[in-house]
């Protein structure tokens, strides 16, 4: 578990998985339909978002409904750089992420004085505040938002028009960054402190853990990574406006994908997104005509079923199955 500098079987599995993901665009299936490419990119984007949220909500146990704010700040960072300042998006992406982290610390410092559910409720209000603020803030485009003009496609401007392969590798890099950071955290002191604060703040403090600092660090990191995801989202859609990014809907996606996949687990956010996003995109494509929100109804039902059956989400179900197989094997070995 704590094998520093050595590569164990879990690492190999992870690296193998990344290699498979990286090879997807060369398969004929990828070029078969651009909608499938879109769905795939969304899966990686949303699993990165959920993993960023998971640092704070899953590992540290502080449920935030405010992550769409940080996501939005990141999206606006990229959007402002491109649309307002006529620059390449990269400095805006970095600035947006830093600003998101600073805003996150500033708003969560008072909120962390509230415990458990009250913290979650306070973060609800923040989404509404930021949504309204950006709606009337004309310097950042107000309700109309920011629309990207046509620029030279490629990595420099981080936009592509003809093919989605660039976006695919872009989101894969983001995915590797976010998941890589969480993987590092899991094995280091910070990860142990995160979980200790989740399991018992006073106990953690009795062991010398400054719980406020741990929570604020988790919040800052989580917001920083959520903002990077937001920047990708703006680049991918060539535009950003307040309801697109800073909404409770968007906030709920961070939370629900993680819960569905498994709170505080490494693969949970990926599994949650891999199940939910195709479901969402295909129901929207096929049932969209019936009226908005069918995808959310199905999503809601899924959450209810999973949480009632196995509160640890898909990871919990997988664990149970794997343990069952292991037990039956060792049982046979005994005979």
């Amino acid at each position: 578990m704590l094998t520093k500098g050595k590569i164990d079987r879990k690492d190999l599995f992870w690296l193998g998985l990344l290699a498979v993901f990286a090879a997807i665009p060369v398969t004929p299936w990828f070029n078969h339909s651009s909608f499938a490419q879109h769905v795939l990119i969304q899966v990686f984007l949303y699993s990165s978002m959920a993993q960023a949220w998971n640092i704070l909500g899953g590992y540290c146990g502080q449920v935030s409904f405010g992550h769409s704010v940080f996501f939005g700040i990141g999206a606006y960072g990229a959007g402002m750089a491109v649309v307002k300042f006529g620059l390449i998006p990269w400095p805006g992406i970095l600035a947006g992420a830093v600003i998101a982290a600073v805003v996150a610390v500033a708003i969560s410092y008072p909120c962390f004085k509230l415990k458990g559910h009250y913290f979650a409720i306070a973060t609800f209000a923040i989404v509404e505040i930021f949504n309204r603020l950006f709606m009337v803030w004309y310097w950042v485009g107000g309700a109309i938002g920011l629309d990207y003009g046509f620029t030279q496609p490629g990595w420099k401007n981080f936009v592509w028009y003809q093919s989605k392969v660039g976006y695919f590798y872009g989101v894969l890099l983001l995915f590797m960054l976010v998941f890589g950071i969480v993987r590092w955290i899991e094995r280091h002191r910070f990860g142990f402190y995160l979980r200790a604060v989740r399991e018992g703040q006073e106990t953690a403090e009795s062991l010398g853990v400054n719980s406020t600092r741990v929570k604020l660090s988790a919040m800052a990191l989580s917001a920083f990574l959520a903002a990077l995801c937001g920047a990708f989202f703006a680049q991918y859609n060539y535009r950003v406006d307040p309801p697109m990014v800073m909404s409770l809907d968007m906030s709920m996606k961070f939370v629900l994908i993680t819960i569905l996949g498994g709170l505080g687990t490494f693969y949970g956010p990926l599994l949650g997104a891999a199940l939910l996003i195709p479901l969402q995109e295909y129901t929207r494509a096929y049932l969209g005509g019936i009226g908005g929100g069918v995808d959310l109804i199905i999503f809601g039902l899924l959450i209810v079923i999973v949480v009632v059956y196995q509160p640890k989400g898909i990871m919990g179900i997988l664990d149970r199955i794997l343990n069952g197989i292991r037990r039956s094997r060792s049982g046979e070995g005994g005979k």
């Binding site: 402190y193 399991e199 953690a204 062991l207 010398g208």
Partner: protein
């Protein structure tokens, strides 16, 4: 100079005075027992010393530093670490991970922390449970986990809040062995305990609280003969039994 100096410590909750002008010293390398009937203010005193409560008045000096108003995590970093009377395992973490949280206090290096944790687990006889989830342990193990976790922080002063309450007599014997082992390693102990036979056999000094006030302080032998302590807490019959059983003769 004593490792811990408690000076005129008073803790009030509204009009209730839980601790009233309590003073005593804990010498380096000693085992000090803190006893008294229910509601005497033992746990309150513990919470003050460990930084969980801010005392209404009075002073706490640990290792030459005023720690009266320091938060709990600072007190722990200075080396005064406590366990909880009502056990608080980090439930969804394994026993090993629980102890690692403590072990990480003295450095971020995972290999070192791992070594320290393993040592503390074996010292508290938990090595075969190290991969179990802490929330599922039986109470005796949970009590020992509290100890192992606190121990892993490398404390100078270990404060055990009723580490033996609710244990079977075999488990108590095991716990006593562990405590004796800690003392041999040079760790100073402040122990709240109700089980008199247990505390009398390990303590160098005993402080007796009743109704928030210190009513006696002395060696175990002096304490069992103290009139005030007998009336307030031990009772005459019990004192006889203790003396006959010879548990208090260790300091002779």
């Amino acid at each position: 100079m004593a490792l811990l100096e408690v000076r005129n410590l008073t803790m009030k909750f509204g009009s209730l005075v839980a601790c009233n002008d309590v003073s005593f010293d804990v010498e380096k390398g000693s085992v000090v027992g803190l006893i008294g009937p229910n509601g005497a203010g033992k746990t309150t005193l513990f919470n003050c010393v460990s930084g969980f409560y801010k005392p209404t008045s009075g002073k706490l000096i640990f290792d030459g530093r005023d720690v009266t108003n320091l938060p709990a995590y600072e007190v722990a970093r200075l080396g005064a670490v406590r366990t909880f009377q009502v056990v608080r395992p980090l439930k969804e973490m394994t026993v090993m991970d629980n102890v690692l949280v403590g072990a990480f206090l003295r450095g971020a290096d995972a290999d070192t922390a791992h070594k320290v944790a393993e040592e503390c687990l074996s010292l508290c006889r938990l090595e075969d449970k190290s991969h179990n989830l802490a929330g599922g342990l039986p109470i005796g193990y949970k009590k020992r986990l509290e100890m192992a976790r606190a121990l892993a922080t490398g404390p100078n002063l270990l404060m055990l809040d009723e580490a033996m309450a609710g244990l079977t007599s075999t488990e108590i014997k095991e716990a006593l062995e562990i405590i004796k082992g800690l003392r041999e390693r040079g760790i100073t102990l402040l122990v709240v305990e109700h089980i008199m036979e247990a505390i009398m056999s390990v303590a160098d000094m005993v402080v007796v609280l009743d109704g928030g006030v210190k009513i006696a302080e002395g060696t175990p032998r002096e304490i069992v003969e103290d009139e005030k302590v007998i009336t307030a807490y031990l009772g005459a019959k019990f004192t006889e039994r203790l003396k006959r059983s010879g548990e208090v003769t260790r300091n002779d």
